[in-house]
């Protein structure tokens, strides 16, 4: 009977072998899945066990903080600035997931990033309660407030403002209206949090949508800056004479492109004057007859079209930035469709742009043709405020050379001083820009745009894009006014006026 007993022993061995194998599967291979499962209450408990770091705007203005509570989840996340920074800072929900900087910098805020390894060791050795790191954003609180208030008080209450530092690419303000209060989403009452989120999600005004980064709109006449850049790069001068007139009929069609109401555009008009008064006919004809579809698309791409800018070099694109597009400008046979080129030149047809892209164009012109990589995270500070990361500005492209940029600056300054963008003027600063009034489907009021920059003594101060959704024909003027206020706030903050 010993042989079968040994075999029974082998059976027991095999059974235990199966157990070992299966435990390896569960505890090693699937461990990460299980550890981070939505159904695992330990995830939340451990996340709320230690104090999460703060998110701050420049100057230390608190945008997100965690305060101790008495309940099971030890710390409650709150957003003192409420709706003002909602789209950027995002929120960190108990079981809603997270968004914005809260998501992008989750590991660092939690104290789990690779760069905080020494911090964790120190905390362990000294017996100190570990806590998360702090994230310092590039945002200027005054500019953000001015932009947010201006949008909230605008005629349509819908739109976006993006302000950049042209020399570094730092995002100084970015706001989208309507906005939302992120505080209810961080509630420890998970049902209330879900209800609050659902309510926002169903709101027909789409408050959760970040219009500054995540939506494209027809840019209208602001796209003439791209036309001008293409023309100047091809060797034209601002003083070169274009053929304007009240109407232009592109080849292969009978549809005519008119000028906007009130635009005075003589038959013979210089490039600079055409931009100043925003003459559609001159730019459409210029694009069709001189620039051509390829060159137009290339120039737009050089400025950043067709590729979503990587904010903070975040390849996951947590901030949800989308790419701007020019459209192919081809007909069904793959040939260049001239009527489309004519319309694209004035920012219609299939051309679509994000407000962020608009600000990047203005910033590039102001910065002498060098486009800086946009970024939002200025510094990462450990819990004792030792920096472990400091942003280094980087040039991401150079779409135009210095002389073209300086010609464009002159032309855009002319727009604000003598043309359609007068409302953006700031005393003591040189302001340049371009307005846009974009049709978006028959019957809808036009979008109002302004992209522009402010300079002091030949040095760029700020670049701004303002977008007012379906604000009608007066929208571009209103947008120029808002841009002026935001840039003035930035200049004032820097003691430049």
């Amino acid at each position: 009977m010993n042989a079968p007993l040994r075999r029974a022993g082998v059976v027991v061995l095999v059974l235990f072998g199966l157990l070992f194998a299966n435990l390896n599967w569960v505890q090693a291979y699937k461990a990460d899945d299980y550890r981070n499962s939505d159904y695992n209450p330990r995830v939340q408990i451990s996340e709320y066990q230690h104090q999460r770091g703060t998110i701050e705007a420049s100057g230390g203005v608190l945008l997100a903080q965690s305060a101790a509570t008495g309940d099971n989840l030890k710390y409650l996340r709150s957003y003192p600035q409420g709706a003002q920074y909602a789209h950027l800072v995002g929120f960190k929900g108990v079981n809603l997931g997270s968004s914005g900087i809260e998501k992008l910098e989750n590991a660092y805020l939690q104290g789990n990033a690779d760069s905080q390894v020494t911090d964790r060791w120190l905390a362990m050795l000294t017996g100190k309660e570990p806590s998360g790191g702090n994230v310092l954003l590039t945002l200027s609180p005054t500019a953000q407030k001015v932009a947010y208030d201006a949008l909230a008080n605008s005629s349509v209450h819908k739109g976006a403002v993006v302000a950049l530092d042209p020399t570094t690419g730092a995002i100084l303000a970015a706001t989208s209206a309507p906005s939302f209060d992120p505080n209810p989403m961080a509630s420890h009452d998970t049902q209330a949090a879900v209800d609050a989120y659902d309510k926002l999600n169903k709101d027909s005004n789409q408050p959760l949508l970040n219009r500054a980064f995540s939506e494209t709109y027809p840019p209208g006449s602001t796209f003439k800056v791209i036309d001008s850049a293409a023309a100047l790069s091809a060797g034209m001068k601002p003083s070169d004479v274009l053929q304007g007139g009240p109407a232009y009929t592109p080849p292969q069609t009978t549809h005519t492109i008119p000028n906007e109401q009130g635009v005075v555009c003589p038959d013979q008009i210089t490039l600079q004057q055409a931009l100043t008064v925003s003459c559609n006919t001159a730019f459409s004809r210029l694009a069709v007859e001189k620039i051509g579809a390829d060159k137009l698309k290339q120039t737009a791409q050089a400025f950043g079209f067709e590729k979503a800018p990587l904010i903070d070099q975040d390849s996951r694109n947590v901030m949800g930035v989308v790419a701007s597009h020019t459209g192919s400008m081809l007909d069904q046979n793959g040939q260049v469709d001239q009527p489309t080129v004519a319309l694209s030149a004035i920012g219609q047809s299939n051309v679509r742009m994000t407000p962020l892209q608009g600000a990047l164009i203005a910033a590039t012109v102001a910065n002498g043709g060098s486009q800086m990589r946009p970024y939002l995270i200025n510094k990462e500070l450990t819990s004792d405020r030792t920096p472990t990361y400091v942003a280094r500005p980087q040039q991401q492209s150079r779409p135009i050379d210095q002389s073209v940029a300086s010609d464009l600056q002159t032309m855009m300054v002319s727009v604000v001083e003598n043309g359609t963008g007068r409302k953006a003027q700031i005393s003591g600063l040189q302001v340049g820009g371009k307005t846009g009034t974009a049709e978006n489907g028959t019957g809808n009021p036009e979008h109002g745009w302004f992209i522009g920059f402010a300079m002091k003594n030949g040095k760029p101060v700020a670049a701004v894009a303002v977008f007012l959704q379906q604000a009608g024909l007066s929208g571009s003027g209103e947008a120029a006014g808002i841009a002026g206020k935001v840039m003035a706030a930035i200049a004032r903050e820097r003691g430049l006026m």
Binding site: L5, V12, L15, A28, D33, N40
Partner: protein
């Protein structure tokens, strides 16, 4: 004990932030219990396998300390950490350990020769069947806890699981019956496809046990227990007859029965519905993670969170796993001691089962061989069934983890099991020249031994040609 003490201190440190002397109470008590048990075993069974007791003591100690750690965590929520010695789950378990060890020693003292058990085989077997059937017959009010009718409940807080004892009693009967019938069962056979199949009428007892285990499955709603009984029987049958065909028949019958129950549960429902549901949860635990699959999902998440090294004693959240003190104790520990800790713990179980089988191989009489083999295999199988269940290897069943889960019946029954293994290992390792008759000096067994020894040894000689005497492997 040092290991167990270290574990207890570490978990208390992690939980409370400081080490109090509170953990020393249970620890000293445990040490005293096991030391006393060791001395008594040395006295009652001087040749017994010396590693069985320490191995069991480690597992038992970890079980008590884990339950104690749950108490500490529980009390911490309410602000205090002072636990009197025998209170709380850990204290109760400690009390049960004491009782179980006393029972084990008593069994060792009473059963001076394991062969004496075979004299009462029919009585014990009948008692086993009765114990097994009681919960099935009792109204659910007295026998059902968490859907499985495995219990006899006395009042609201005290319940025993008669099945735990029944398995030992039944095994006595199986071994006795098979030793007597093994020749018939092994010799008379038809050869089909190179495998010896038994005659139809010899299938009777196997079918009877199969039906019994199916009845357990259906009326007591417990797959684990039925798998245990059946596995136990099939293996003893195989060991007795050395016929692979029994294994094949047994496996087919069980799989067929289980599949039939699953199929019927899906279509007819009724008594099979519980089984169907369990199998369904096993196949798709995440389909309903907050309700039906909750236990298994939380168990898996706990194990997964532990990962390779575990979160450390006291640093996990085993309270998030339901029934962590009984059925899911393995998952609860897995979170804190990780894959490596669990592997070590499983290795100890494996070690116990293997030493038991070693004793079976070493012992000279057929009854002892069968009995010890059956006991060891059952122990291993039970660990497999419950650990496989909580780690989603097989459908989850309501088995206790031997020596660890909170619960007196299981602890006492398994300690008795170990006592019997110790007794048999004592017989196995006793020098061959020291005659058995000299050992059985008890007045009760005074007249018996001679007669007793006749039966198995005669069977031994007749049964197999290969000599066992002096087999040291």
């Amino acid at each position: 004990m040092v290991l167990v003490g270290g574990y207890a201190a570490a978990s208390e440190a992690a939980l409370v932030g400081r080490v109090s002397l509170g953990f020393l109470g249970p620890l000293i008590t445990l040490t005293a219990i096991f030391f006393a048990a060791h001395l008594l075993i040395r006295w009652l069974a001087p040749h017994a396998d010396p590693v069985l007791l320490p191995a069991v003591a480690v597992v038992n100690g970890f079980g008590v300390m884990f339950l104690h750690r749950l108490d500490v965590a529980d009390l911490k929520e309410h602000g205090t950490v002072k636990i009197p010695l025998f209170s709380g789950q850990g204290g109760r378990q400690l009390m049960w350990t004491l009782l179980a060890v006393i029972c084990a020693v008593a069994v060792l003292a009473v059963v001076r020769d394991h062969r004496s058990l075979s004299r009462y085989a029919y009585t014990l077997g009948l008692a086993g069947i009765a114990l097994m059937m009681i919960p099935a017959i009792l109204p659910a009010r007295f026998s059902s806890i968490n859907g499985a009718k495995l219990w006899i409940r006395f009042g609201s807080f005290f319940a025993i699981q008669p099945g735990e004892f029944a398995k030992i009693l039944l095994l006595v009967y199986f071994s006795y019956y098979l030793v007597r019938k093994r020749e018939v069962l092994s010799l008379a056979s038809k050869r089909i496809l190179g495998i010896d199949f038994p005659r139809g009428r010899d299938l009777g007892p196997v079918l009877a046990v199969w039906l019994l285990s199916l009845m357990v499955l259906i009326f007591e709603k417990d797959l684990g227990t039925s798998l245990m009984y059946f596995g136990m029987f099939v293996v003893t049958l195989y060991v007795a007859t050395e016929r692979v065909s029994w294994l094949i028949i047994g496996l087919l019958l069980f799989l067929g029965g289980a599949f039939l129950a699953y199929f019927l549960g899906g279509t007819v429902g009724g008594p099979f519905a519980n089984f169907y549901e369990r199998a369904d949860i096993w196949l798709h635990p995440f389909a309903d993670p907050t309700n039906k699959g909750y236990q298994l999902v939380q168990s898996l998440l706990g194990l997964g969170t532990g990962g390779l090294f575990g979160s450390g004693p006291g640093a996990g959240r085993p309270d998030k796993v339901p029934l962590v003190q009984s059925d899911f104790i393995f998952a609860g520990m897995g979170e804190e001691i990780g894959l490596f800790g669990l592997t070590a713990l499983l290795a100890v179980y494996l070690f116990i089962a293997m030493r038991g089988l070693r004793a079976a191989i070493g012992v000279r009489d057929s009854f002892g061989k069968l009995f010890a083999g059956g006991l060891s295999f059952t122990l291993g199988l039970q660990v497999f069934v419950i650990v496989g269940g909580v780690s989603k290897l097989i459908p989850l069943t309501g088995q206790t983890t031997p020596f660890m889960s909170a619960g007196g019946s299981s602890l006492v029954a398994n300690w008795v099991l170990i006592a019997l293994l110790v007794r048999i290992s004592d017989a196995a390792r006793r020098p061959a020249d020291g005659s058995g008759a000299g050992r059985s000096g008890g007045p009760a067994a005074g007249g018996g031994p001679v007669k007793l020894q006749d039966l198995p040894t005669e069977m031994l000689r007749a049964g197999s040609a290969s000599g066992h005497v002096g087999d040291k492997s």
